[in-house]
Amino acid sequence: MKLTREQVEHLAYLIRLGLTDQEVEQLQEQLSSILGYFEMLQELDTESIPPTARVISLENVMRPDSVDSSMPVEEVLANAPDREDDYFKVRAVLDTGSADVFEV
């Protein structure tokens, strides 16, 4: 079973990942081969086996709901690619014009 170009492009769309045509072709091949390798798991009967999300049993960690010091705003914003006053600045959110290119 080989992944189609549309499947690969849809996955990339889900994770907001731009890909070149060449990358799409490579990923079609590579993901298909890796997924083929995973087929061996189907030989195991796991019908009655519960899933494990984590191996060490964890308990909820509670703390008092009290005001504590936070990181200074300047330090938080120091790595920002773009800012305005005390905010992260982003490009237009609602204009999805060019996004249509990636809709599949």
Binding site: L14, I15, L31, Y37, L44, T52, V90, R91, S98, A99
Partner: protein, 489 residues
């Protein structure tokens, strides 16, 4: 003796006796880095000025009889662990200029113990890889053979310790990223129990598997570093409050009568005959030391690799959603909309393996495939954990090879992801079950190091370290140094 050949414990003693200063020691290591790192390429970022400043402070503390367990000891930190004010790239273009505004908890704890940071070490991008060839910057070379990989993803930390560029280093291990490079570089590397060491400030890859662990030249040094970094942390709710024993004292306890399980599934097709022979000899030596060997079965071992490569990429695809070009890191300058900015930033910022894995993880989690892939993998994970539970009812530790092969040549496996993934086949199971596991040098084939893996019960690092210490003390492997730089020195 060269100062860069000292172990941590030897250096601690000399510093306390005041027959060596931290400025001398740190200076010697920085000089060693200058003379060999053009060949080894272990470091992404050097912290020379800061290190010498810290060394002066360490000497002052030592002069006034103060100081902690590691005062004045130069260590290196894998570049997925945050040091406040020092660039942390994760081996990725997307974080090329990222400066963390806080210290990871392990960094705080090493600071409190008096350690000195000499630099940040190379890694496969976001710790995804087994050779450092997935670093966006360069490939690190194995100090024992510069044409071969140091292993990965913590290949920079492993080779830095092997090459005498740091006395100890920290790495992270999600599927073997400490133990596999430790084996390839002929040093000791430990992945602690999941929850033993705080992950606050470790850049997340696969959160149900990631653990931070030390690299050193000896088991005693690993025990010492583990001592310093272990314990519960309010900033990491997955860290567990199990008391931290005195590991350095624990390793000296008697090993006679300890029961060692030898899993037959670790001696199968895929393991090089030379590696099998070397590891079997090491296991024979455990018997000579008074331990009791028993062949055991971990029947689901062969499913570990596909299970891991579903669970880890699934978790990664979620964790790496944060790299969106808004709060930090690369941001595509030419995008006109937010949407386009996300697409272009991630296209340019991530390398091929990271793209492959987040695509794979997204597939495994996506509607229609979730049950067949992700849920199935989580169920198989349960079976793998049950395998270990059954063996640990009878055994104190498990001994096995750390890797199926000797270090492979640079470039040999880059074109074939599955071949690359196979180099982690013996290390992944311990991550799946959350167990502590280490690699200790157990011999050489044609000058290339081999590692013996010792896996312990959850939160019983002590016994695994004790077995490794007894073995190490009965051999000379840990005293060998790579031929590197002999001419230049």
């Amino acid at each position: 003796m060269n100062l860069h050949d000292l172990t941590v414990s030897e250096a601690v003693r000399l510093l306390r006796e005041r027959s060596l200063s931290s400025v001398e020691l740190t200076g010697a290591l920085l000089q060693r880095i200058e003379s060999v790192d053009t060949q080894v390429k272990a470091f992404l970022t050097l912290m020379a000025d800061e290190a010498l400043l810290q060394a002066e402070l360490a000497d002052e503390a030592l002069a006034s009889g103060e100081g902690g367990l590691l005062t004045g000891i130069p260590v290196a930190i894998k570049d997925v662990i945050s040091i406040k004010g020092t660039r942390t790239t994760c081996g990725s273009r997307i974080l090329e200029n990222y400066i963390p505004p806080f210290d990871a908890t392990v960094v705080c704890r090493l600071r409190e113990a008096g350690a000195i940071f000499v630099g940040k070490t190379n890694t496969d991008e976001f710790a995804m890889g087994s050779s450092t060839e997935n670093s966006a910057y360069f490939t690190t070379h194995n100090p024992w053979d510069l044409g071969r990989v140091p292993g990965g993803s913590s290949g920079g930390s492993a080779s830095a310790v092997a090459a005498g560029e740091a006395l100890a280093a920290l790495g992270s291990d999600t599927g073997g990223s400490v133990r596999q490079p430790a084996a390839f570089c002929g040093v000791v590397g430990l992945k602690p129990t999941y929850g033993r060491v705080s992950r606050y400030g470790l850049v997340a890859f696969a959160s149900s598997l990631d653990q931070i662990g030390p690299f050193t030249r000896t088991v005693e040094d690993t025990a010492l570093i583990l001592q310093c970094i272990s314990g519960q942390d309010p900033d990491d709710s997955t860290s567990i409050g199990v008391p931290v024993p005195d590991y350095v004292a624990e390793i000296r306890k008697d090993v006679k009568g300890l029961r060692v399980g030898i899993p037959k599934e670790y001696f199968v097709e895929g393991i090089e005959p030379g590696v099998e022979k070397t590891v079997r000899e090491a296991i024979g030596q455990l018997q000579d030391l008074g331990m009791v060997l028993e062949e055991v079965s971990l029947p689901h071992t062969k499913y570990a690799l596909p299970t891991y490569y579903l669970i880890a990429p699934a978790e990664a695809s979620s964790n790496l959603a944060r790299y969106d070009g808004v709060k930090y890191g690369l941001s595509a300058p030419d995008a006109t909309t937010l949407w386009e900015s996300y697409m272009r930033t991630r296209e340019r910022g991530f390398g091929p393996e990271v793209k492959r894995r987040i695509m794979l993880g997204t597939y495994a989690l996506s509607s229609g495939y979730y049950d067949a892939y992700y849920l199935k993998a989580q169920k198989v994970r349960t079976l793998m954990k049950q395998d270990f539970d059954a063996v640990f009812e009878r055994c104190d530790v498990i001994a096995a090879p750390a890797t199926p092969t000797v270090p492979f040549r640079i470039g040999e496996r880059v074109a074939d992801p599955i071949q690359m993934y196979l180099s982690d086949m013996f290390t992944i199971p311990a991550n799946m079950a959350g167990l502590p596991a280490l690699s200790v040098p157990c011999g050489f084939i044609d000058g290339l190091p081999i590692g013996l893996q010792v896996i312990g019960k959850a939160f019983d690092e002590s016994t695994a370290l004790r077995v490794a210490y007894a073995y190490e003390q009965s051999t000379d492997w840990h005293k060998r140094r790579p031929p590197l730089g002999e001419v230049a020195d």
